[in-house]
């Protein structure tokens, strides 16, 4: 007999994820020239996200459902804002 509640388990998993947790994980991702964004580019992108209305809970982008810190870490990563890649220089 099933004794689990999928929604409860997802909520429990979700509650462990905080902005600090995400930033810590991204800070520890490997860096590679030409593949990952350098520190100044990463910070420029995150500053743009921080001012965006789709940036939710200090860690989540509602236009793609991902954590922008991950996308910003990848040099080829793009901003999914409709009609306008806000990260484009």
């Amino acid at each position: 007999m099933p004794e689990r509640c999928i929604r409860c388990e997802l909520e429990k998993l979700q509650s462990l994820i905080t902005p600090e947790y995400i930033l810590n994980v991204v800070d520890n991702l490997p860096e590679e020239e030409g593949v990952t964004a350098d520190k100044s580019e990463y910070e420029r992108r995150m500053k743009i996200c921080g001012a965006c209305e789709a940036f939710t809970g200090g860690m989540l982008c509602m236009h793609c459902g991902s954590y922008p810190a991950y996308r910003a870490h990848v040099l080829a990563g793009t901003c999914p804002y409709p009609g306008k890649n806000k990260w484009e220089k």
């Binding site: 099933p2 909520e11 509602m62 793609c64 991902s66 804002y81």
Partner: protein, 498 residues
């Protein structure tokens, strides 16, 4: 390698209900918000707030019905939160879900409007787990009562004078789990009580669907059929396809041959589940009045790296396409009992036909399967057999081919649709399809195929047309037989006019 599929044109079976090809939209992740709904003021092209591209994608596959608002969400949804002026609707910031805002901007009117735009039937799931009988009673009255009453007046005040048609209503969801953690006997009694107030106010029937079993919980089906048969028109069943299990999910895109076959084997399990639940239903309902409603099915993989795990956003490869082909063949072949099914979920959640990101949209390999299979909707199932060789690795073995066949009568000729999946990860097959009992000659045959050179291929926002539907050569080998070359890991739809 050569295989033979025999379709008996004289063995006409059940009608394949179009509703087997239904979809599911829950307030979860970006299925509703950002998926179907962006709001009227969005810069994303929309019609009355619904994304234009997503609407078109579902119209193109002839979506027959859409289930809403959940899922688990249904048993915590209070419908009055989602009606009236948007600025007055309840707004909740769920800190447990990454600070996601549920502002109830998508409610009953927006859902019914979505179904209107899609041209599909609404399938609404009510709240048993945390809702009252009065709440369910009033929701039905609000939606379907055309006379004078407090609820119909409220509907009119909110901008919709006419009552809506509500063909399908689910009385709770997964009541063995997130819908209240009930035991079968308790839920059967709760079902009897709640459904009493799902009143039919006009001539249009509301089909009442009881919350059903999880996977192989046959006792649940037995208890519900024994205790509530006379009060239901449908009984639900949920089953997801994992590589291993819910607790041990694996990548949607990275797998080896064993990973391919583990998922395919689990997809084939749907046949056993449908058969065994049907056998129990037959015991109480031999005339098959009550439908088996598989209103949550599909692949459940690990979420994409870097995405919110609670959003259940996953990619979709050739493997998912073959799974969809196999399971839809199973539903077709059991259409005497399975009359509604809903792939989980429509947009951006689990095995979605459509993925969105900002203003971009991609059609997944699963979408193309639904596009090919739509010819089965409303057709008459034909008996088909295929003594296929096994495919697999080490200790995992699956039937290489999966088949279903149907016919639609035409003016001068009949149209036969045969859908064939090749679950073999590596080997192609020559497949002869014989229409036994055919009096006329085959006059024309054509075929479409969904596959890709690499079984891991998928469509991304950067490369959106890697896996698509393409024409496949068909040879008319004899007056009643056609032949196709079916590549490894592929799904084909053969259309024969005779």
């Amino acid at each position: 390698m050569k295989e033979t599929v025999i379709v008996d044109v004289n063995q006409k079976k059940s009608t394949i209900s179009p509703d087997i090809y239904g979809h599911f939209s829950e307030h979860l992740g970006r299925c509703i918000y950002g998926g179907f709904w962006v709001g009227k003021d969005s810069s994303v092209p929309n019609i009355h707030g619904y994304r234009s591209d997503v609407l078109q994608a579902f119209k193109d596959i002839d979506i027959p019905n859409l289930r809403w608002p959940g899922g688990c969400f249904a048993d915590e949804y209070h419908w009055k939160d989602g009606i009236g002026p948007k600025e007055n609707r309840k707004r909740m910031i769920n800190t447990n879900w990454g600070g996601v805002v549920e502002d109830n901007s998508f409610g009953t009117h927006e859902f019914m409007g979505l179904c209107d735009e899609l041209g599909c039937k609404p399938y609404i799931c009510g709240n048993v787990g945390s809702g009252t009988v009065q709440e369910m009673d009033e929701w039905i009255e609000y939606m379907t009562f055309s006379g004078e009453s407090p609820m119909s007046r409220l509907r009119e005040e909110n901008g919709h004078k006419d009552a809506w048609k509500l063909p399908y209503f689910g009385v709770g969801n997964e009541n063995w789990g997130c819908g209240g953690n009930m035991r079968a006997e308790f839920y059967a009694d709760q079902y009897r009580r709640y459904q009493t107030f799902v009143r039919q106010y006009g001539p249009d029937k509301i089909m009442k669907i009881a919350g059903g079993a999880n996977v192989d919980d046959y006792n649940w089906t037995d208890v519900l059929m024994k205790n509530a048969l006379g009060f239901m028109d449908g009984l639900s069943l949920h089953n997801y396809t994992f590589e291993y299990s819910w607790e041990d999910k694996r990548s949607a895109t990275e797998y080896n041959d064993a990973g391919w076959y583990r998922v395919i084997k689990n997809a084939y399990r749907m046949d056993e589940l449908v058969r065994r639940h049907s056998e129990i239903m037959d015991k109480y309902d031999p005339a098959k009045r009550v439908s088996l409603v598989v209103d949550e099915w599909g692949c459940w993989h690990k979420t994409e790296p870097g995405t919110n795990p609670g959003f259940l956003y996953q990619q979709n490869t050739v493997r998912d396409a073959v799974v969809a082909g196999i399971i839809l063949n199973i539903f077709n072949n059991h259409s005497d009992r399975v009359r509604i099914a809903n792939l989980a979920q429509a947009v951006n959640v689990l095995q979605s036909p459509v993925l969105t990101e900002g203003d971009k949209m991609v059609l997944t390999p699963t979408w193309y399967i639904l596009h090919m299979y739509k010819a089965h909707q409303g057709a008459t199932l034909l008996g088909s057999t295929c003594a296929t060789a096994a495919a697999g690795v080490e200790n995992i073995s699956v039937p290489a081919l999966s088949v279903s066949a149907s016919v639609k009568p035409g003016k001068g000729s009949d149209t036969y649709t045969i859908t064939v999946c090749n679950a073999d990860a590596a080997k192609s097959r020559t497949v002869d399809i014989g229409l036994t009992g055919l009096v006329k000659n085959i006059v024309k045959a054509e075929a479409q195929i969904v596959t890709s050179g690499d079984m891991h291929d998928c469509n991304t926002f950067e490369k959106s047309e890697v896996v698509t539907e393409k024409a496949l050569a068909v040879k008319i080998a004899e007056r009643d037989t056609v032949s196709i070359e079916l590549p490894a890991h592929s799904v084909a739809s053969v259309t024969i006019h005779a």
